[in-house]
């Protein structure tokens, strides 16, 4: 078992009210799996992803990653886990605007204290993997959306993490670039990387081997996915704005909405 979430709860405090975002989540993912987490805006899927990515902490419950109990780790050890075990891909790419593709990809290696020469070799390799060998010294402003996301994937993969976490990786891309990214994910998956991906789209989710649905902070697995999916889309049509950060229910968590 690569990762195991047991009875995970997450509450946000708004004023003096506890707003539950995740309720009793139990999820296990094996090494090498390709999992899509689906759910409407505010269902808590991003929060779940952040907990899996060790950048957020659950209010209650235990989380094991590669046999390590994450709750007990200190800040320094968490940084190490994030650096070595997890690769993040964000909807909005989150590249350093003033640094070249090469330098962007090199960031995790820099934090891992990889020697400079070795770092460059690894970065070039990663950029080659995503098919951007000819864009090495380009800055993000000189790259298209699809290229930016591929740089971000190269950055996520450069340290050869066990898990690739992708939050709406195609959300800000045109369909052609989106397909390219999905092909890349398939390739990485075939090389043995565990991929966990958040998405709204059935079509994108269909690339994954397994789908996990989350509605109102509760996990729904197995059959009947398409049913609930159609319900949700009727209930709560996705708006452009909500794509950005949809970890929290916009209606109930005013404090967090401020940031959106």
């Amino acid at each position: 078992m690569l990762l195991e979430l047991k009875n995970i709860y997450k509450n946000y405090i708004q004023g003096n009210m506890d707003v539950p975002v995740l309720k009793n989540i139990n999820l296990s993912i094996e090494e090498g799996e390709y999992v899509a987490i689906m759910g409407p805006s505010g269902s808590g899927k991003s929060t779940l992803m952040n907990i899996i990515g060790c950048i957020d902490k659950p209010t209650a419950g235990t989380y094991f990653l590669d046999g390590q109990e994450i709750n007990t780790l200190k800040d320094r050890e968490l940084s190490f886990v994030r650096n070595k075990q997890i690769g993040f891909v964000f909807q909005t790419f989150n590249l350093m605007p003033r640094q070249t593709a090469l330098d962007n990809v090199g960031l995790p290696l820099q934090y891992a204290k990889v020697p400079k020469r070795e770092r460059k070799r690894m970065c070039l390799e990663a950029l080659d993997l995503v098919g951007l060998s000819d864009r090495v010294s380009f800055k993000p402003t000189q790259l298209s959306g699809g290229q930016k996301q591929r740089v971000a994937i190269a950055r996520a993969m450069v340290n050869q993490p066990k898990i690739l976490l992708a939050d709406e990786p195609t959300g800000a891309l045109d369909s052609k670039s989106g397909i390219q990214v999905m092909e890349l994910f398939r390739e990485l998956h075939e090389r043995g990387t565990t991929i966990i991906m958040i998405t709204h789209s059935d079509e994108i989710a269909s690339h994954a081997d397994r789908m996990v649905k989350i509605i109102d902070g509760e996990l729904i697995t197995g059959d009947g996915i398409s049913d609930t999916e159609s319900n949700i889309s009727n209930e709560q049509p996705e708006s452009e704005i909500m794509h950005t950060y949809d970890g929290i229910n916009a209606d109930s968590v005013g404090q967090e909405v401020r940031y959106e």
């Binding site: 950048i55 994030r82 070595k84 989150n94 003033r98 960031l107 934090y111 940031y259």
Partner: protein, 432 residues
Amino acid sequence: MIENIRLSFQGIWAHKMRSFLTMLGIIIGIAAIIAIVSTIKGTSEQIKENLVGTGTNVVKVELYQGDWNYTSGDSQGGNKLPVFNDSLKDEILDLDEVTAVASYRMGSLYNGIMYGDNLVNNTTFVGVDEDYFSVMGYSVKKGRLFTEHDRKNFNKFVILDTVAADVLFAGEKDYIGKTVVIKNDAYVVIGVVEQQDSFSPKVENLNDWYTYYYNDASGKYFVTDDIWPMLFGFDEPYNVVVKPRSTEDMTKAGRKTADILNDYIGANDKTGGDMSEEESMGASLKYRSEDLLEKAKALQEVSASTSKQLIWIASISLIVGGIGVMNIMLVSVTERTREIGLKKALGARKGVILAQFLTEAAVLTSLGGMIGVGAGIGLAYIISDVAKTPVAISGAAIVVSVVFSMVIGIVFGFIPSVKAANLNPIDALRYE
């Protein structure tokens, strides 16, 4: 580290105007300090230069009784101190630090000197040997110096310095060869001398200045030391002036000469009647060298201490500048919250974030410090041009300024950097 510095420069360059305004406080503070230090150092070097002189690097070794310059004057009897002689002179000349020696004696006459109806009281007479004028750097302005013939024949000739000539002859021009009366005896004026490279006070803000000069308003009158007993009736003890090999040797040359002379007269600190005749001659008398270097140092301290207060005032500007840096760093941390969140998500430890922001603050202020040094040097030259004061750029001050401005960056950048380092990655990533 190098990467952090590179990133800092990128950041500073990306916000040129803001960075410059932030640095301004540091620039002004450092510039003020450099300008002040340069001016102090310039003044202080000028003091030294003027006191020590360039052409007349001489050390006077004079006889003291207790703390006072020993002169028997015309109201006292003579003393039995042994007379200065050629072998003593040779002994001093043998010193490595000494290139020339002259002996002289000095005394004052209350009923000084008279020319026509003009009586000048309380005049200073100097009995000189053949080397005195050349060692002291006097040159003939009018007439001539004493010759060997004058000495052998005990000619009653007198030479005046320019001050004395002005006082005694009050505007009269053709006075060489005129007769003056000293102690009811007639003397002939054979020449006027003036000192080259004499101390000319360029620093006017120091009251102490004049205390270090032999400021004799009525000037000096020179006679040969051979006729001294005729003038004073007894042998006045000799003083010695030596010319050191270099300015650095001044103190040594003076001390060694004083040692030789003290040895010769048997100087001792004994008092009372329980002494041999030999001991009583040297009792409480001592040759002391006039240490111009030390005097220069004392003067420099006076000038430096007044300016130290100015440096403190300038330092306030540095503190204000530091607060400006802190403010901008706080803004910068807020602006880059997402960047910090991302870096943390990619595995950057607290220390990495802390180092990045501390480096940025330090680079910012160091850069300000360097610009400030440049501005300060410029300012120092402008001040020197306007106020006619000398400038000396101090390398140490430049290094200290830049290091100090770096320290300011680290100190005032600390709180913002800690704030950045302690950001929660998820909050930071969500921040818009």
